[in-house]
């Protein structure tokens, strides 16, 4: 009787999580889709407008306030990518390396100190990291790379990397430690040294898990708001230059949603941005789950 009751409660908790995700999905999309009622779908890519000498010009711009509001999602998407991709790249380098160190190289004692320390980094409030980027890092980056914009995508990306390095490091560590010991022993028996064992045996065996950690890190990077808002300069431009100021989807929502009239055109457009962001991170997380499942299957865990 008591056991069944506890079981039921646990089951309910599990379903609450699923229901919550479902409801968020419905809520976001219900509002977001309504944007299409007043804004033509093509305007989320580009609009045409007369310029100074009355020649029609294609405009791809996010500028929702004005006589002729612009709702192109391209600059925001571009901004998010320009922050998330370099951040993921950076965090992969450092995160996977420290994951390998933790799982394969570090002794038990060191591991007990280093792993909690890395996890502690994850506990730093992102507003603190954002402030550090804004006040200190931005100037360092500007002097080092002679950038035109003091606040730019790279400054934001370095900040975001701080947040996701612990995610990638701990998950890589977990993935590599899940690789059965007999594979390592086999490699050693065949005369492989430690480095060869790691690169040729352990990493390939745990590759899906490592991939999953990187993907999850990237999902987190796309969703990071505070650092993006504080350190990227917030200029909604379409550019491939990582040293340019950009505006991410998250920063746009955070900065604009609070001050727009509920149910208005801009309000709905912002929900559409939210829907796009949610779909992106959802897909990325889905791929991560698939990668983990594949690794489990391969290693027959």
């Amino acid at each position: 009787m008591g056991e069944q009751f506890v079981e039921l409660i646990l089951k309910l908790n599990g379903f609450v999580a699923i229901a919550a995700i479902g409801l968020i999905f419905v809520f976001l999309f219900k509002e977001g889709v309504q944007a299409f009622r007043t804004i033509p779908a093509s305007h989320f890519i580009q609009t045409t407008e007369m310029d100074f000498d009355n020649t029609p010009q294609t405009v791809r711009m996010w500028q929702p306030v004005g006589t002729n509001p612009k709702y192109s999602l391209l600059p925001l998407f571009c901004g998010s990518m320009l922050v998330a991709l370099p951040a993921t790249l950076l965090a992969t380098l450092f995160g996977v390396a420290s994951g390998i160190y933790l799982a394969e190289v570090a002794g038990k004692r060191t591991r007990e100190v280093v792993k909690p320390a890395i996890e502690l980094v994850a506990g730093i409030p992102s507003v603190v990291i954002g402030f550090f980027c804004l006040a200190v890092l931005a100037s360092l980056v500007q002097t080092a790379f002679q950038t035109t914009f003091r606040l730019n995508a790279v400054v934001g990306a370095i900040g975001v990397a701080f947040v996701i390095i612990p995610v990638i490091a701990t998950m890589t560590d977990d993935a590599l430690r899940a690789v059965p010991t007999h594979l390592r022993e086999g490699a050693h028996a065949l005369g492989a040294n430690r480095w060869e064992t790691i690169v040729r045996v352990v990493l390939p065996a745990g590759a899906s898990g490592v991939t999953a950690s990187i993907l999850l890190g990237m999902g987190r990077a796309l969703g990071e708001t505070m650092i993006a808002l504080m350190a990227t300069g917030n200029a909604a431009q379409i550019t491939a230059n990582p040293f340019a100021s950009v505006r991410t989807m998250t920063a746009t929502i955070a900065a604009e949603l609070g001050a727009v009239p509920q149910g208005g055109e801009q309000y709905r457009a912002l929900f559409l941005v939210g829907s796009l962001l949610f779909s992106l991170t959802f897909l990325i997380n889905l791929f991560a789950e698939i990668a983990v499942a594949r690794m489990r299957k391969r290693l027959a865990l």
């Binding site: 407008e49 100074f52 405009v59 711009m61 500028q63 929702p64 306030v65 004005g66 006589t67 002729n68 612009k70 600059p75 035109t148 914009f149 003091r150 606040l151 300069g233 917030n234 200029a235 909604a236 431009q237 379409i238 340019a244 100021s245 505006r247 900065a255 604009e256 609070g258 001050a259 727009v260 009239p261």
Partner: protein, 297 residues
């Protein structure tokens, strides 16, 4: 003294016309609706006024100047805040509903254009500022400076400053995509102070007194005199704004449905009087020139 007199007057009036016991609830309620730019100003006025006049309740809501004026026309608000003058058709629509709209200029909003003190440029025309911010002028060399790319600092699109600048300086053109959006005018000041190629805009008071910043003189037309929004000591140049020789300024209006009477009149007189105007100055707007009561158009 005056405040006490009004309070006593209002109190006796209330006691006289309402049955005892319900007079606490029967105090006057003034509804104010309109300009989002003026919400903070409107709320400060209301807070301070209600502190002094416990019998009056003032409800201030935003929604935009147009929303406020529409509510005035429909008779759902007594006062409308507006950061733009009422349009003729709005006045006519109100008349149709039997409402005569009365205008009060309650404050002035003047915006300064600012660059880093290392920048050799001292003045710009309105047209140049507009072209810089809309992305048609991109190098300081084009406006008499040294050959460096112009870095534009702007505000979030929900700020009234942004909207005013877009309407009056950019003439409704779009801001250039590379305008960096700052969360407030003090952030703009900080960014331009650090950036030798930066340009920013905002309320004069945010920029004066910072040695790393230079407030630009602005020419209305290419041939008119360049006017600074600050005086020699860096304080807001009220005269230049009042006379209209400094071009980036606007009135902040309060519109009333019909000639204001009783509680509404007392409130408006207070706004236009020294206490109301002191609040205007405190939140960095510019007081109207004549501080005498009842300066309707």
């Amino acid at each position: 003294m005056k405040g006490t007199a009004i309070r006593l007057g209002a109190l006796t009036l209330l006691l006289g016309i309402t049955p005892p016991g319900s007079w606490v609830l029967a105090g006057d309620t003034i509804t104010v609706k309109g300009s989002d730019t003026m919400v903070i100003l409107g709320q400060r006025w209301a807070e301070e006024y209600m502190k002094q006049h416990a019998d009056v309740t003032i409800q201030v809501t935003g929604g935009g100047s147009g929303t406020g004026i529409a509510a005035l026309i429909n008779g759902t608000t007594q006062l409308a805040n507006s950061s733009r003058p009422i349009k003729e058709e709005e006045r006519a629509a109100a008349k149709k509903n039997g409402i005569e709209v009365v205008e009060f200029k309650t404050a002035l909003d003047g915006l300064a254009v600012v660059v880093n003190s290392a920048n050799p440029v001292n003045e710009l025309t309105m047209a140049q500022v507009g072209k810089i911010y809309s992305g048609y002028i991109n190098d300081w060399k084009q406006v008499g400076g040294t050959g460096k790319r112009i870095l534009r600092y702007s505000r979030e699109s929900n700020s009234g400053t942004y909207v005013f600048f877009k309407e009056h300086v950019l003439l409704n053109r779009d801001f250039a995509a590379d305008c960096q959006t700052m969360p407030g005018t003090s952030a703009v000041a900080e960014a331009v102070a650090k950036d030798p190629n930066g340009i920013g805009y905002g309320g004069v008071a945010y920029f004066s007194g910072n040695p790393q910043l230079k407030v630009l003189k602005i020419r209305k037309e290419a041939k008119t005199e360049a006017v600074s929004p600050t005086d020699k000591d860096g304080r807001p140049n009220y005269e230049a704004v009042w006379s209209g020789s400094y071009p980036i300024a606007r009135y902040l209006y309060v519109y009333s449905a019909g000639q204001p009477r009783e509680a509404v009149k007392t409130y408006l007189d207070w706004i236009l009087g020294p206490e109301g105007q002191a609040i205007v100055e405190k939140i960095d707007y510019i007081p109207v020139k004549s501080t005498g009561a009842g300066t309707s158009r």
